[in-house]
Amino acid sequence: MTPSTLALLSLFVPLGAAVLLGLLGPLRRTGRPAAFVSVAGALVALAGAVAILAGGDAALKPGAHLVWGWLSAGPATAVGIHVDGTSAWMLLVVTLVATCVQIYSLGYLHDEPPAALGRYFTYQSLFLFAMNTLVLAPNLLQAFLGWELVGLVSYLLIGFYFRKPSAAKAAVKAFWVTKFADLGFLIGLVTLYAKTGAFEWTAVTPVAGFVTLMLFFAVMGKSAQFPLHIWLPDAMEGPTPVSALLHAATMVAAGVFLIVRAEPLFAQAPMTREIMAYVGGFTALFAACIAVVQTDIKKVLAYSTCSQLGYMVTALGAGDTFAGYFHLSTHAFFKALLFLGAGSLIHAVHSNELKDMGGLFKKMPFSGAVFIIGAVALAGVPPFAGFFSKDLILEAVEHHHLYVPLAALAIAAFLTAFYMTRTVMMALFGAPSHAAEHAHEPGIDMKLPLGVLALLAIVAGFGGSWLAGLTGHEYAFHFTLVGGAGTAIGLLGIATGFWMFGPAQGGAPIKRGMAPVGVFIRYGLMDRLSTVAYGLMLAVGAIIAWIDRYVIDGVMNWSGWILLVGGRRLRGLQTGNVQDYVYAVALGIVVLGAWGILR
């Protein structure tokens, strides 16, 4: 089969599963059978993605392009698929992580009622379709379609526990914030269309600066860059596998993927790239700082995701597309692993809080081991996956003389290693909490995906050269000063973390100070900000609505009322006395006669 056929398969089989489950209520409500439909769809999609890559990169070099007119007959507003190295690899990452997550969910959501489980897997299939739509997009228009659809599924999945007010709130907030950012995408898209008459990735246009700036605004929302990252920590209200798939590995990385895809446009906009580098650098540092003080294991990982996305954005801002793309891939594996591992821990103790864990390594050696693998990969310890990609990013940023972002990234690297060590120490070692005493390993359906992802987190870094070849870049690992320094900083962070949270338990005052800082940042600052913004919006709405009801409509009512009252007044003219009417007739005749005669 040709790459395009396989890609179509990967795209539409999950859609078929979603439609099947969506339309057939009875099937959906059976729960596990419905889940198998969805998993089967994901497996087919994964097989398609693997087959595309197994076909060799000869077929992918020019890229298979297949489009149908969507809004009009021509190719200008078409949808379809575009399969080249970049999209084929991304397709594999997405389908692989999605398959792992879906299988994992079978075990993780075992206790859900069948109807809810069916609903969950319907959303999962829909997500896979939406994400593949975005990944395989032949132009910006389709990218936007997929972009919005993944946002929608994100909303639905965060709100999976819709009876829980906090989940409901988080889902809506995530949608609002990302949708607000998507205004940028829409404006950029429309501008591109207005100027070039099409939506091509490769368009050469004088408005590229504006378009890319607008696109980057959307990326800030979707990929959780400061200050539009506020939705991501709340999004952790969703089930943990959802966090792993959407809010760590794939959906939030869609922004990075978009920039990678739209490289020709961004290449025309050095200004946008510089802004990206600074925003990314700041986000990487800022989010890492917050992650240090979080007490909820998923929140730690959420801020870590923010921070890592900041890394990727900085790399793209530095103009090194491959560095960002590479880190996107490795991050997808190890962050999904971390989330799923954390999910396994959460599943065991029924709590997200780090203080409810502790000493879990003894009870759950497998989950603990894979979580540690994920952590060291994230911390950039050689030879795990994160080491290679993070090095590459630091090099690229240094190469482009972006020293301020570089400094931010370096500090962030230290903090990353530090907070991951802290998390590992608090969750897996030390004195077990009350809840942790009854913890036990999950079943095979959860272990299998963890194992696969752990393997990838170990080896993915070595695939850099191959990936570069696939996407048409040049890369071979080589030792540099900056990279070495980055690794050293990471190791220093691990050491510091170990000193403070390891068995020796040093640095007590610092530790004590952390908790209130975390509470302040979490609830005192960012939450307050978004609440104020929301309240302000509602207030404006209330004022406008009041004006509409009582002033504008009041004027309308008043004009009706004037007629009413006028009529009531004039009613007196109708005396009911026939002679008065005759008198009026006579008067009329006199007036008309006078006008006729005296004219």
Partner: protein, 99 residues
Amino acid sequence: MTLDAYVLIAGFMFCIGLYGVLTRRNAIGILVSVELMVNAANINLAAFAHFGRGIDGQVLVLFTTALTVAEVVVGLALVLLLFRRRKDILVDLANGLKG
């Protein structure tokens, strides 16, 4: 005598009739006044017939006379009805059309 004399006298009569219609309180009184007005019109018709318009004017007088009779008949029937309902035929008391 010339035509304008007849027309003038008809005009006088019409105005007197109108005055009656406007001032009478009694329904029959109003009918009387209406008769005066119709009569004025008849005089006009007859006069114009005499001064140059020929037979048709007189024919028309015949018709209007018949119409007047019909009108008086119906009018009086209404007056009777009014009287039976209201025990009175003062028109300013019959103001059912009042808004």
